[in-house]
């Protein structure tokens, strides 16, 4: 049989091909077919086929699943995207969160609270046993000096007989005042002198911290809503639809990864 092409010329052409086309055609052929049609020696056939193996497929649904944690059966994205025609307000969201983090079932409560504490990046020690008897408050009245206010969300638990507090000021685009942060910090320090306290500003984007005094900025750490949402979903949770539907609504309310209010 007459050679169709000089082996080296063909090899140069394969090498010069900068794309998936020719290589994927070669990849689809068996080694014997490559050998037969192009009369390549085995070494070159293997080289061509191995080259094809290194091509990363562009479409990779598993990458999307891994990022969002879609493998969890109760993921928010598996819940219906309800259209209520209204936007949830800050107090409604923190109120719902406090309610959902502390269901009657202690095991569920422990899993949810630990998931939440970890997802928000809180480094305070917590075990499932601590979380089972933890307390979760929304809109907790606070006073310091003559100032009055409400802490949006507060979780507290005991670890090794030491009180741990996660205090959260939740924002959706509204201005953050230095007075509020000073008040909440002063209130908690007065009331719980021995507690370890993690102060968090939970907001869409970090610009909310721009007007916060430097001294307060070192005490309160910023966490983006999308970061909390993503980690909470990646960790997975139980099959209670109240939680997954709420998380789906929350995704819409925080406008996904956009880190700004919906127009």
């Amino acid at each position: 049989m007459k050679k169709m092409k000089n082996e080296d010329v063909l090899w140069d052409q394969v090498q010069a091909t900068n794309g998936y086309g020719l290589r994927s055609v070669f990849q689809g052929l068996s080694s014997s077919a490559l050998n037969f049609v192009f009369e390549l020696d085995k070494k070159h056939v293997l080289q061509i086929k191995n080259q094809g193996k290194n091509i990363k497929s562009i479409f990779d649904s598993q990458a999307v699943s891994r990022l969002f944690g879609l493998n969890h059966p109760n993921h928010a994205f598996k819940s219906p995207d309800l259209d209520w025609g209204v936007q949830l307000t800050e107090p409604q969201i923190t109120g719902a969160l406090a309610h959902l983090l502390a269901p009657d079932d202690e095991c569920r409560k422990a899993e949810r609270v630990v998931n939440f504490v970890k997802s928000i990046g809180c480094k305070l020690p917590i075990t499932y046993e601590d979380a089972q008897i933890s307390q979760v408050y929304a809109e907790l009245p606070a006073s310091y000096g003559k100032q009055r206010g409400r802490i949006d969300l507060l979780l507290q638990w005991e670890n090794s007989s030491k009180l741990q507090i996660l205090a959260i000021e939740a924002k959706f685009g509204h201005a953050l005042s230095n007075d509020q942060l000073t008040l909440y910090r002063g209130f908690l320090r007065n009331r719980q002198r021995d507690a370890k306290i993690d102060y968090v500003v939970l907001a869409l984007d970090e610009t909310v911290m721009e007007n916060v005094k430097k001294s307060l900025r070192s005490k309160w750490r910023f966490v983006p809503w999308h970061g909390l949402w993503l980690q909470f979903e990646r960790n997975g949770y139980d099959e209670d639809q109240s939680l997954s539907i709420f998380m789906r609504q929350l995704w819409g309310r925080i406008n996904g990864f956009s880190q700004k209010e919906k127009k």
Partner: protein, 201 residues
């Protein structure tokens, strides 16, 4: 006209959780903003997921444009249809899931018909419609087709969000597109031809 079923398009149509995830990722294709990630592995996932989102973004736009082309290009070829490119950036096609061509009726230089293919992926449907546009007054008008005429052609007259009459097809199921893409394209072509004939004569 060939409308391709790609892996990305299939997943986007069939899986609502995958669709929600892609919808969340596409705005981040500008790569200007990071998301809060806890590890290098997660950042790899984010980078890989963005690549998939870009593929789905491409495939969906290609699908909408091909659906419009399959529906109207043959029937309107004699009219020299135009693309309103200024109002159809790729991000607008993605966000609205629609693409249209503009055709000037022979008897008028001031009016144009907009022939649109639009999909609703959460409802799993695609439909065609024709609207009448007044270029001088920069406003839409009622399409001058009666309900009887529309029904006789297997179409319907419906009101848009501003209460203006437009001529519309039934809503075709995207699941049919996934199982029989060639039949789906043929249905679009047939429907588009009937719709075009009724508005352009």
């Amino acid at each position: 006209m060939n409308i391709r079923v790609t892996e990305g398009l299939r997943a986007y149509i069939e899986k609502s959780d995958f669709r929600a995830a892609i919808d969340g990722l596409v705005p981040r294709l500008d790569r200007n903003k990071a998301i809060q990630i806890k590890s290098i592995k997660q950042y790899h996932d984010f980078n890989d997921a963005l690549l998939t989102a870009a593929q789905v973004h491409h495939d969906l736009i290609a699908f909408i444009m091909s659906a419009c082309e399959a529906s109207f290009s043959v029937a309107t070829s004699a009219y020299g249809p135009e693309i309103e490119w200024k109002h159809q950036s790729l991000s607008e096609v993605w966000e609205n899931s629609r693409f249209w061509i503009t055709v000037d009726p022979k008897e008028s230089n001031t009016r144009a018909f907009e022939l649109t293919a639009e999909a609703n992926f959460s409802k799993g449907t695609l439909w065609l419609y024709a609207e009448l546009y007044d270029k001088e007054k920069d406003t839409y008008l009622h399409v001058n087709v009666t309900e009887e005429q529309a029904l006789a052609a297997g179409l319907r007259v419906e009101l848009d969000e501003d209460g203006l009459r437009r001529l519309s097809s039934e809503k075709f199921k995207l699941s049919n597109f996934l199982t029989r893409p060639d039949d789906f394209a043929a249905t679009l072509s047939d429907t588009g031809a009937r719709l075009t004939k009724l508005v352009l004569g």
